[in-house]
Symmetry: D2
Subunit: 310 residues, 4 copies
Amino acid sequence: MLTIGVDIGGTKVAAGVVDEDGEIVEHALRPTPADQPDLVAETVADVVGELAGGREIEAVGVGAAGFVDETRSIVRFAPNLAWREEPLQKKITGLIGLPVVVENDANAMAWGETRFGAGRGQTHVVCITVGTGIGGGLVFDGKLYRGRWGMGAELGHIQVVPEGRLCGCGNLGCWEQYASGNALVADAREIARQQPERARILAELAGDKIEGEEITEAARKGDDASLAAFASLADWLGQGMADLAAILDPSCFIIGGGVSRAADLFFDRAKETFARQLTGRGHRPLADIRLAELGASAGVVGAADLARQR
Amino acid sequence: MLTIGVDIGGTKVAAGVVDEDGEIVEHALRPTPADQPDLVAETVADVVGELAGGREIEAVGVGAAGFVDETRSIVRFAPNLAWREEPLQKKITGLIGLPVVVENDANAMAWGETRFGAGRGQTHVVCITVGTGIGGGLVFDGKLYRGRWGMGAELGHIQVVPEGRLCGCGNLGCWEQYASGNALVADAREIARQQPERARILAELAGDKIEGEEITEAARKGDDASLAAFASLADWLGQGMADLAAILDPSCFIIGGGVSRAADLFFDRAKETFARQLTGRGHRPLADIRLAELGASAGVVGAADLARQR
Amino acid sequence: MLTIGVDIGGTKVAAGVVDEDGEIVEHALRPTPADQPDLVAETVADVVGELAGGREIEAVGVGAAGFVDETRSIVRFAPNLAWREEPLQKKITGLIGLPVVVENDANAMAWGETRFGAGRGQTHVVCITVGTGIGGGLVFDGKLYRGRWGMGAELGHIQVVPEGRLCGCGNLGCWEQYASGNALVADAREIARQQPERARILAELAGDKIEGEEITEAARKGDDASLAAFASLADWLGQGMADLAAILDPSCFIIGGGVSRAADLFFDRAKETFARQLTGRGHRPLADIRLAELGASAGVVGAADLARQR
Amino acid sequence: MLTIGVDIGGTKVAAGVVDEDGEIVEHALRPTPADQPDLVAETVADVVGELAGGREIEAVGVGAAGFVDETRSIVRFAPNLAWREEPLQKKITGLIGLPVVVENDANAMAWGETRFGAGRGQTHVVCITVGTGIGGGLVFDGKLYRGRWGMGAELGHIQVVPEGRLCGCGNLGCWEQYASGNALVADAREIARQQPERARILAELAGDKIEGEEITEAARKGDDASLAAFASLADWLGQGMADLAAILDPSCFIIGGGVSRAADLFFDRAKETFARQLTGRGHRPLADIRLAELGASAGVVGAADLARQR
């Protein structure tokens, strides 16, 4: 039996027909109507309609950034799409006449990776998606952990520095201000502005348009500022994993998200920092730390599979 | 059917015969042979033997401070009793001929409170025992969460201040260095030393022997230094709960441990700080924050019940 | 007898003929040849030549950003003009045939303000120029304090936050990263990015080109983000003055530089923070804290007067 | 012509007859009547009377911990002796009939060292006395720098850590909470409590009475905790000197006070940290950093000489 998974991103809506083995049978893309959040449900319905044509579809799973309620129906709060108490499940079901499950996008990715990717066979999975911010998903004993009201696993918003950098959530010092793609860009720009002699390669590549792509390329060419920004990201990532291990003692961390494509620039160091900062180290096994395997389709696959298991 | 719960503390071993409703039918105490950790198993056997006399006992649950392995048999590392890879379950079973389950003491308390105390009816419980340090226990959907290797819920060892106060675990800036009884004493002593005019009531009560009891009494009499130490504890406690809620979205926090007997001096403020620091506040329900109800016997009751459900 | 003062800024060279009372008799401007630091001496000579025409000029004082050596001849290191060991005094003297004194620009301003502006009659003056960075000048008992090698009063480079924000000098946590115009812009941009709802007025005024002018205007219209950025600047300014008072016990602080034109937005709060943070407060008089009076011409007037007193 | 110098310490009053070359001709000691601050003037008069017998004494200089006013007469505030607005000069003069000059004790030491000790020939001296706290003295161009109201050079009370350790002055994060003898003891005790395995040598030497002497001895025997405490002191000392050099550009730092007797354990590292943290390093000479030469008598010698030059 087939299900459809949909991943609503900030710029595009990705969707796919997924089978029981997590294989994407067919996929489709639409631009996200980011300025008109009311139209997102219609875009989802449209792409589902295209994919469903002539197939028997059991259900649809939809991953969306934001706090999704415990009934997996309502997006209570989504920073990027300006949704507040958006009844997304009801809207989409009304348009397509199929069962719909709404899920936080990082939860969907965590589920996809645990079922079909880097987390297969693991009993206690902590999935960290390092993109512009940090998202998280927890899968314990083959079950997605969502918390009492569906708002768990907001890993990016643990405070790691008292009175630290301002976060979009309104707090100071959140982890995602130190270990995400945005943090990488902020750190590299700061060094380039204050110590331009350390950022010559970066300046040649990027001019004054420094973004993650340029930092990655510059770092691979030996740019000192870019390497320093990746080292900082690695250390904060490792420290955060040590904190999560103190609480959750997972068998495995999975690192995904756009920044993980530059894993050659931070992954080994993050693992070293984790091993050095773990409480009780020396008296306990170290969790595996793995890169995600499903790439950008983890969210589609995970959402589809969650719909199947609704 | 009856079980026996044992709580091995730093100074005494408490034990009780517990029925299916979590009631203690009979209890007994022994001093902990702290200098001879090898004798702890014998002390446990001795007190169990006394309590078991003439009763049919199904199993024994033992709570001990330290990292207990996933088979609930071995204490891998216990800071206070100098145990390393101690096969406690095997030793005690050998002496008493009954099934034995070993559990981290804070886990046992969390289980006791969830089953029979402040956490009844809650689906997602985070239990924080504020004593000399901070212990933790997690109970999700009626099941104790132990992590992959039994080392989860070491909540006291999340880093809350980078390069902060040295912790007994070897790391810097652990939560229990800011929100525990030891932190309370350290903070009050520091103020008394540096600003004696703020600590006059405390000085009268304690002389130069400032401990938690005196700080509590002085705070209730309006001592400025003692009140400031409690305020700091409250703020750090609230911030830590906000971090845990970002990860776990619990329905309920339970605050226990010796320091919770002075809840009048920090509990309201901790709740306010939690509500102010919670990520996504305003778009989500607030978890209940409750005081533990079983007092010092939570560990005995919890250990006994875990043995029943082994 | 007349002297000429020259103030070499990042974008323009300002010069003036100054009399014994600190009055500017005539003035002139040239664009700074910022890309060709070798031509700066010629620009200075050119503007001096224009002003000197037909007048008897005793000497020329030149203020320049950077570390000026103790013989007041060589700019050892100037971040903005890429000078390294630049023999500016010798070059200019060679071109104009008059005695030349080179001085750090903030020192020149401090001298001008002390002799003819806000510091008249004061015995111990600490002058703080809050522009893109922070400059400083010290005048004790009617004498400019320059230190052993002319490098004193680099007030912007005291460390105020361990492991804090990266500074152009290569260190972390320098005061000018928290209490300057650049800090103001960084703080306001950060809030606007993370919490756009607090920066609506600023966004209307500035679009995505947020600079000091727009922040100032927005703050005066009640923009929350802009007011918060000014409040942070005020607190750091007050704390820094408290530190300087612990060391120097001045009779008077003078606050100048471009940011001081927005004094209505930070000055009172900075004074309050100073009074609250001063060590020994209650047992000592509070230094006066005054705004500079000579505006942009303080540097020209001060440099001219230092040349007179060479 | 001879003068007498008196150094009022927390436990003893030291005094000496001093000649024009800074040589102590005769000296005497009295216990400090610490519980009866009113009697200190009489103790001073008594010891001066003993020393003066049969000699012609020109004047008396008295060094006292605390904020001394600009007329060098009144101790406005002394933390250790509970003086508030104490007219010490008038009291002593009344008792002995000789001219009296009162000076802050660290200022007196700085003057003694500059005139006759490690600072001879130096033009810009910053003297740092590292004892239980940190005291300071500044001598520029052969003149003691006292600030407008005599309260300058309170170097121990620069804030180095925002919201840091509580200081006896009522502020948070003062330098003397990180780089003094008290800081050394606090750091070593903290490590010994939290990580006793690092403090075995210290524990053998000190039991639970850990003070500076024991830490010093243990460090020399290789005790890890004690060495770490000295390393921390060294780093904070070096950072503080870098900050002072940014402001004052001295030719020379002099490190004195009781802790300097253990210079083998921190001095080289403090110099390295200073050189690494100095703003503008590479473009400026490094100040000399020297150990004090006069030992415990610097205060007596300095006070006597200040009286001579009154």
